[in-house]
Symmetry: C4
């Protein structure tokens, strides 16, 4: 039963129940303690967050830095700023002067006077400079890497046919970039009664695909050599089975190898079902792939 297992790097000896191994976004349910945290991580975080969050972060940091320098200018004495607006509070004058310095707008109606303020200005305009360089870097980082979005069918299905069951699922590229030379590796995890995990390779009928502009259906024959042979729906649940998927391809736009991960737990596998066709031709001879139809299955009686 538990022969011919492999080591995937996800741990085999366990002492308790665990959550699913691979989340729906491809991340692992593994927490690392004692790891290094650095400026680098903040930068990488900013390269990945949503545009809204990044905008908020930039705005907040910008206001914060200017508030900080406003305090410094107030502390230096607002009388050392030429041309302040008497109708505004001194602090606001200091704040707007800071803005004009940090962004290097420098209208000059307000201007520094005396040694102290001039030194602060020297520092703040350099900081504006470096801050801008960082923002430019973050913006570019966000776009200079492939942003792969593989859509997986919501369910895997077990489809009977020609005397043998097939485990099947589908995927497609959510974006319009060209992916090529796709390779798939599918693995099965089953736990034993001691919570220890056992991993198996699931052999695919076709594990690579040259072009990937349409959808791709991956199929594993549950024959005598399959670790799923003679295993029913209830046994999958008892062993808390999880089908692990690792997809590799080549993003032509960026010239980079890309990876994607996904998993189906035992309760996401439909028995006796099959997928409906997701693409067709229209009147002009154009081929249409409808991504919303990728999830469509039908029962087999």
């Amino acid at each position: 039963m538990f022969g011919r297992t492999i080591d995937l790097g996800l741990g085999r000896k366990y002492t308790g129940k665990t959550k699913r191994l691979i989340n729906k976004d491809g991340s692992f349910n593994i927490v690392k303690r004692g790891r290094e945290m650095r400026l680098y991580d903040t930068y990488q975080y900013l390269s990945r967050v949503s545009t809204e969050r990044l905008a908020l972060f930039i705005l907040a940091t910008y206001l914060l830095i200017n508030l900080l320098f406003a305090f410094v200018y107030v502390w230096c004495g607002v009388e050392n700023l030429r041309g302040t607006d008497p109708s505004l509070y001194p602090f606001l004058n200091a704040f707007f002067f800071s803005v004009q310095t940090f962004t290097t707008v420098g209208y000059g109606v307000m201007a520094p006077q005396g040694l102290a303020v001039n030194l602060v200005v020297t520092l703040e305009s350099l900081l504006g400079w470096v801050g801008f360089a960082i923002i430019a870097g973050v913006v570019f980082s966000r776009f200079s890497k492939p942003n792969v979005r593989i859509l997986y069918s919501n369910n895997a299905v077990i489809t009977p046919g020609n005397g043998v069951n097939r485990l099947q699922f589908r995927l497609a590229n959510k974006r319009n970039n060209v992916l090529m030379e796709m390779e798939a590796r599918v693995m099965l995890m089953m736990q034993d009664v001691h919570y220890d995990r056992h991993y198996y390779n699931l052999k695919l009928e076709q594990s690579s695909l040259h072009f990937f502009p349409l959808d791709w259906t991956l199929a594993h024959q549950i024959d005598q050599d399959s670790p799923l042979y003679n295993i029913g729906q209830q046994q999958l649940e008892e062993r808390r089975a999880e089908v692990l998927i690792s997809i590799k391809g080549f993003d032509e736009t960026f010239g980079q190898v890309i990876h994607s991960r996904f998993s189906y737990t035992f309760d996401e596998i439909l028995w006796n079902a099959r997928f409906k066709k997701a693409y067709d031709t229209d009147a002009e001879g154009e081929i249409i792939l409808n991504l919303t139809r990728l999830h469509e299955t039908e029962r087999i009686n």
Copy 2:
């Protein structure tokens, strides 16, 4: 007839006539519905459009943002701008003030006054900052990726010789960058009467090339093992045959693997023709490749 087919990922079951599979620019004739659209796609679009369009886009966005802020300044009251030019309409004053703020030129003859305008300035100069970062990123993106331009001969030819026909076509690198370790894969698509598509690999006499500073002629022998064996010009048309080409190489300048696609439909294949030599040596011993001669063929009687 339709044995030994392969799955290329371009779909096999069809219900009607379709356009050519691969366009002359290497894109697929496949439309994706329901795909994600995001800021990321706009950015990628700007990284690819012609220089003229990018310039137009930048100019238009720049003017639009400044018009927008001009309205805001007018709405705040142009009397809150110091030093406006009485010979110009208030709106123009606001517009030029916006320009001076957004680009951080900040001459200072015009300058903000009072809380409201100063707050708008705070926002606009930040926006100028971020906008600039985005432009810098787009400009760099355009140039940081290999811009591969493979030139394919206008026609493929079928050249008789030594009792066997050869399907041949030529390619060359349009640019001066160094491409190496070229690999070619050539496939044939033929439709049956039900519009279903069948794909075949076409074996090449030489499918890889170490250096690629000259042209490269790819040749497939139409022998007994070829899916083209005993198939004439008319049959190619009836089956709406298309020769699919997938080229892979290494761009030395960018250190990246690059890909190129092309196809010849049945009506782009010349029968009983061959290519003329496209390169020669000049008086100084220099080797000259003339790209315009890449398409030159001659008939064989």
Copy 3:
């Protein structure tokens, strides 16, 4: 004894004792004389140094350039600057004017006057421009490459079991980025009495790993085919043995192949010891890897 050696590229003929081959940071103990030094190297250096050093470097260069231009403005005559602050030394006025020009703040209270100063300003603002471009580039460089931090256990251990000894060590990814498709190559270096070096491959029980979110224990069986067979602790010391480790993987975030090197010298190998388990599950079923426990070993009697 010294049969079946390989050439790793680290030199075999030596005439004296040498330090360890691979340092703890993965660098080689090899000094290159007569190599090219260029601006490029300065740039690469800045891309790698600690944030603190980079900040210091930027600040110092910034002050230096402004001091330099301050001298030039003084030499041109500070009377050619409009609007200087009479309460400050002429040199300070020149310095702050330089700052306002280099950073393109340009308040304008101080402004250039006459040909000479205007020409210097023309140059300095261009320099500010280019300097900024360089800083932006350095900042982006620091973050655009994978910053791989593999943590290796402090010691390798020799663990007896089932009648055969195993040389083992562990590693984990210090960071939270996803590493995949790990490959390991482990080599042994032993010196003979003439100081010549001999290199051997050490065969691993498992030399590759698909996922790498947990730790990875590498094991070499010291069987009859091993160059370590029948070699005791004292012989390792006499031959100044060093176990060389070369790890390769794929960084998913950057889509790049990454490498890491490490080595254990004879005195960093613990005999008759084994590693303790470094990960466990918590109450919520989350898997916890504790990096500080990676080094924990226990003696075997």
Copy 4:
């Protein structure tokens, strides 16, 4: 004599004498006519030229653009610029105003007045913006790619030993970056009396190297299977032989595959010579590689 040739992609049918195939800088002696020229090529050119040339190019473009705008401002009427310096020619005033606008310094002592000048300013400050983005991109491009400098020994040698001659040459990494997983491919080109070229692979004793911090000597045994077997110095000259070298490796800093090319013509091959050792250990056990000694050979009698 001319059996077992290969197609390298460098052309085989020729009608006259040609220069060496691969220049000392790795480029091919092949000229492409009719190729595409675009902005992209200018950018790539700037990414590769020497720092001095780039600096000159930036300075010249900067001055040119400002001269151009100076003309436009003069044409608009210098009386539309506020605060011009009466001691300077109107054109110089216009030029310095342009500088202050293009670099966004904007002191404001000089400032635009009226519609026409303000419109030009709107355009020029945008142009300054975009120009800066381009410079930032070029600067970054220059440093974001591996700058591989492989040093090849000035000569190849033919070294007799153990009854067989060896063709040998050496190489080393001129820089301090880490190169790994080196692979070498060596080919021989010989012309026949019709100027046609014939290419052969030369089998290497060791064609790959794991680490590359020292020098690497490549050796080809001239045994019975070698195309150089029984070919003397005079024959090499008659056939205008050229040894073509293609080196591949992995640059760890950039995570990129790198390539290098070189060639030795018949007159750069020394007969009956061998290389001297280029590295040694110093008193502290440090290994020293002296790049200037890479070329040192000694005659064998």
